[in-house]
Symmetry: C2
Subunit: 294 residues, 2 copies
Amino acid sequence: MGDLHFSRVAFIGIGLIGSSLAHVLRRDQSAQTIVACARTQATLDTARELGICDETTLDPAVAAKGADLVVIAAPHSAYAALGRAIAPSLEKGAILTDVGSVKGAAVRDLGPIVPPGVHFIPGHPVAGTEHSGPAAGFAEMFQGRWCILTPLPGTDEAALAKLTRLWESAGMKVETMSHEHHDVVLAITSHLPHLIAYTIVGTATDVEETLKAEIIKFSASGFRDFTRIAASDPVMWRDVFLSNREAVLDMLQRFNEDLTALQRAIRWGEGDKLEALFTRTRAIRRSIIEAKQA
Amino acid sequence: MGDLHFSRVAFIGIGLIGSSLAHVLRRDQSAQTIVACARTQATLDTARELGICDETTLDPAVAAKGADLVVIAAPHSAYAALGRAIAPSLEKGAILTDVGSVKGAAVRDLGPIVPPGVHFIPGHPVAGTEHSGPAAGFAEMFQGRWCILTPLPGTDEAALAKLTRLWESAGMKVETMSHEHHDVVLAITSHLPHLIAYTIVGTATDVEETLKAEIIKFSASGFRDFTRIAASDPVMWRDVFLSNREAVLDMLQRFNEDLTALQRAIRWGEGDKLEALFTRTRAIRRSIIEAKQA
């Protein structure tokens, strides 16, 4: 990674993803100065204690000033205001990227504020854990996972190559696609699964206290696997669903139809339909194992 | 486990659960003779190669003859016929148990055939993997997990104690409850989660081939966790849903209501409702970690 160097990297938001990338930059000495910006002083104090930044500030405009790489790593609902705040600070030649889960929303909220000469390249490192905050981050989190970049037409090739090298230095495989396509694929692979997990954990525990204790006790029989996903950051995920509303509602509609069909098959004792579906889904698992994503 | 001894243990069905228990009996030398009965000779050959049985037979009546412990470890749809087949072979003082996921169905299908003097105690070791067949079994599978026994009123205390010691020898924590209560608790913790996982894996992969390849590629973003559950044995799970129909449909109805409410909140941009649920479900995860079930 000797050829990858930034003079000043500004993290606007320094939670799970931001702090993990800061750990990578530190490990590889890829940034001369790392600046962390957050909404609270407590978060900044934690980031400083972790040794992942040289400067801290509560002001996004101060953080972005003079940076050659600005990384928005905040919930989607903050993007528009953050964009307005940093726009006057963005310098010609700088790369502006983000790590959000909905790329259409990133383009909508940040695209209009980007000054000429600034390279705006939305990004999504598809990695994470159910924990949040700067203390939860670690450099190895990205290892072997995919990072999706959604450059707009006409994006500077050199800037795209440099951002690609950054994520590769974190151990990621980088792929580019349109932001529209990204949002459809992730609605299926990530947003719908999270929505369903949140729902089922809510349904299963919305019972009297005695039963709730038993459900926790016997959770290893299937329920437990959903609780890990449903422990993900509440604000981040609230914003994901609201930001990718159309694609999520479309997938949810299809899920509902399929669930209704299954419900009907159970009610009418149509075992062959159940077995046919379960046989098909078992084969999908094999595909994932073969693709080395298990 | 020196005091736990059976002279002849018959496994009617020797798949994932049956073979794992046979491994335990072998390891602890708790059974003088282990007999395996299956529907196909191929399964029996595998069981014999694994060294987990001394005798094999395709005839359940032959397997059960002279046994002091008979373990039904077959899909629920086979129970009634197996019960009729083994009834004449069951000897006074023998323990008849099963390992199925729906205890009401076990009572309904096996209860009527039990001859006087035979101790029928339905059981459910809440353990497993997404794999199936005798080669998938291993003695450690039960370690630290719960086994639920659902003895009927008037069950012989000595027989119950002996069956309890058997599962404890496999490393399980044993709890008793009524079969009705078991089926409600498991509908929530196990059956509904499996049904939802099967559905979402079906929905997400019922797309054109190009998109399907991308979904498998990016499955680590949430979808992957569902595919493991949805790879569970198709026949066994078909039977679970049909055998615990009422409780499953009841939970499914509640899940549907909650999902519809969430869908509406997304459509109308009610972020506070989403955040409130996601904050509640995150706390549930903490309860599971505290209960050491994570």
